[in-house]
């Protein structure tokens, strides 16, 4: 390798700040615009580590959700949105995968709990199988439901009311049900968009504990505008500002020693 190329590679590394080996996801020069010329996400580069929680922080409107939703191609539901750049899942370009397969591998949990109101708790958990037309035996279904609900520590609370509508649960329970719904499908990656912003502190704590528990088996990307949450449970943190990825580092490093003045400003509460 020539020295110039070496130097270039060095710069690239600098840009990415953290060096993650064998990343699950690799986001490369990703830009997203809702309408022409107005980019909500600009030239983001980041690798996501396996079996870790990566938090995306930043003030409201900085593009966190936009970035997250690009990862399982939610933006394709809205034809006006332009996505540029590349995201790899291991070595596969996600833009070239079928959305059906992609979304089987990457699950998503939304800001407001959104269990299907016409379905029972049981049906909500196996909704992924139903929607995808996957036929399961009764015993298999029961097993999946129980395992997924145990995963989110909801089993004991709802095991006697599995046939009731999911909307009867409390907000925190609903959100855990939605996480169970995403888990039931055994994805590799789970994307969560401010999953606790609609929950009270007790329910929030439960979901946080749960996420820490889940990272053993899953790779988790968590959008939050609550930096203490990021500090508590994440291993890596991204700080976004006005669509740019300003800083990306191990959470401990970023919170103790931010490199960028904007990150520092945010962490010390100057804005956001």
């Amino acid at each position: 390798m020539t020295t110039v190329a070496m130097a270039e590679k060095q710069v690239k590394m600098e840009e990415r700040i953290v060096d993650i080996k064998n990343p699950v996801l690799s986001i490369q020069d990703l830009s997203i615009a809702y309408n022409k010329d107005k980019y909500a996400v600009k030239h983001v580069n980041a690798d996501i580590k396996k079996n870790a929680i990566t938090a995306i922080m930043g003030p409201s409107g900085c593009g966190k959700s936009t970035l997250l939703r690009a990862i399982n191609r939610m933006h394709e539901l809205y034809p006006d949105i332009v996505t540029e750049g590349k995201i790899n899942l291991h070595d596969d370009d996600i833009l070239k995968m079928s959305t059906i397969k992609l979304r089987r591998k990457i699950g998503m949990v939304f800001q407001r709990p959104n269990p299907f109101p016409t379905m029972s708790i049981y049906d909500n958990v196996i909704a992924g199988y139903k929607l995808n037309g996957i036929k399961l035996k009764r015993a298999e279904r029961d097993e999946i439901v129980e395992r997924s609900l145990r995963n989110v520590a909801l089993w004991d609370e709802v095991k006697d009311s599995l046939m009731k509508k999911g909307t009867f649960l409390s907000g925190g329970q609903q959100q855990r049900l939605c996480i169970a719904r995403a888990l039931a499908f055994q994805p590799e990656v789970i994307l969560l968009d401010e999953p606790t912003s609609a929950l009270d502190p007790v329910a929030t704590a439960k979901v946080e504990d749960l996420l820490v528990e889940l990272k053993k088996d899953y790779t988790i990307v968590l959008v939050t505008h609550n930096m203490s949450q990021a500090a508590r449970i994440s291993d890596y943190s991204m700080f976004m500002y006005l669509g740019e990825l300003v800083e990306y580092d191990k959470t401990k490093v970023m919170f103790t020693n931010p490199r960028d003045s904007r990150t520092e400003g945010y962490l010390t509460g100057k804005f956001g």
Partner: protein, 297 residues
């Protein structure tokens, strides 16, 4: 895990995508099929009706069968027009509106003022039921009330009473909905100043909701203008222009029915229908314009 093995084996994605495409095209094709009748109807009216559209059509009364037959046999267009129908329709519709609009608006305001009362709920349900009553039944009613007991004979008044009952629920509904959209602060500001309530209605509520009321009224008129069945039972028809509300009267839809039943007059069907359809269309467009303007303010 067993389930996961199953999952890996069941790659049905291409089949599902195909089904998805087919369903999409089904929706598109069926939607086109759904709107094709309106295109065909308007097309037919324009193509076949345009020939008869001339000055006389609007200024002369209907020809008799013999005149029409002579014209048709010589390949000419049928002389005469539908003036008696146009004036008759105007008479009946204006009369119906004069009765239905004030009454409907007042009842609408009453419902708005007494939202929660059970009695208001009853009135609202009655309006709902009336809206579903078939127009022919309203014709029967008006026959029993007006033709038999008031004008003792078929009359414009009888026709307009049946159409009035048709309009009422539509106007009541749209009035109440419009009033609900007016901010209560506007009303309360007036009441706080001690302005009498009837003045608030006349000077504040009605002017503020004017475009909403207009939209409802125009739509109601466009619904009744083409009604034929109730008029067959009430106004009967007339070969001459009639402006007496106690006398039988013609109307454009009634004329279409007469032309339809008279082989010599068939050519006039299309132009009359085109005229009627044009009228309905214009009312629809105007009311849409008003509604759109309201939304932008």
């Amino acid at each position: 895990m067993k389930a996961q093995i199953e999952l890996a084996n069941q790659d049905n994605s291409s089949y599902r995508k195909l089904k998805d495409r087919i369903f999409f095209w089904f929706i598109v094709v069926m939607s086109v099929v759904t709107i094709s009748p309106i295109v065909m109807i308007i097309g037919k009216l324009v193509v076949k009706g345009f020939r008869q559209f001339n000055f006389n059509f609007f200024t002369q009364t209907t020809p008799d069968t013999f005149e029409a037959m002579m014209a048709v046999s010589q390949g000419e267009i049928i002389p005469g027009g539908i003036l008696n129908g146009i004036t008759g329709s105007l008479l009946v519709v204006v009369l119906a509106s004069v009765m239905a609009i004030p009454l409907g608006v007042i009842i609408g305001i009453y419902l708005y003022e007494n939202q929660a009362k059970r009695y208001a709920g009853l009135i609202r349900s009655i309006a709902d039921v009336l809206q579903g009553v078939p127009s022919i039944v309203l014709g029967l009613i008006s026959y029993l009330w007006i033709v038999k007991h008031v004008t003792t004979g078929f009359s414009a008044l009888a026709g307009s009473v049946s159409l009035c009952i048709m309009m009422l629920p539509l106007i009541i509904r749209s009035t109440e909905e419009t009033m609900k959209m007016i901010p209560t602060s506007i009303k309360e500001a007036g009441l706080a100043l001690g302005v009498p309530y009837y003045k608030i209605i006349l000077r504040v509520l009605i002017p503020t909701g004017f475009s909403g009321l207009m939209t409802g009224i125009l739509l109601a008129i466009s619904r009744i203008i083409g009604e034929t069945a109730p008029l067959m039972l009430t106004t009967l028809g007339s070969p001459v222009v009639n402006m007496n509300i106690a006398k039988p009267t013609s109307a454009v839809p009634l004329l279409i029915w007469e032309f339809y039943n008279d082989p010599n007059m068939v050519d006039l069907i299309w132009s009359s229908s085109l005229f009627l359809m044009g009228f309905v269309l214009t009312l629809n467009i105007i009311s849409k314009r008003i509604a759109a303007k309201r939304r932008t303010i």
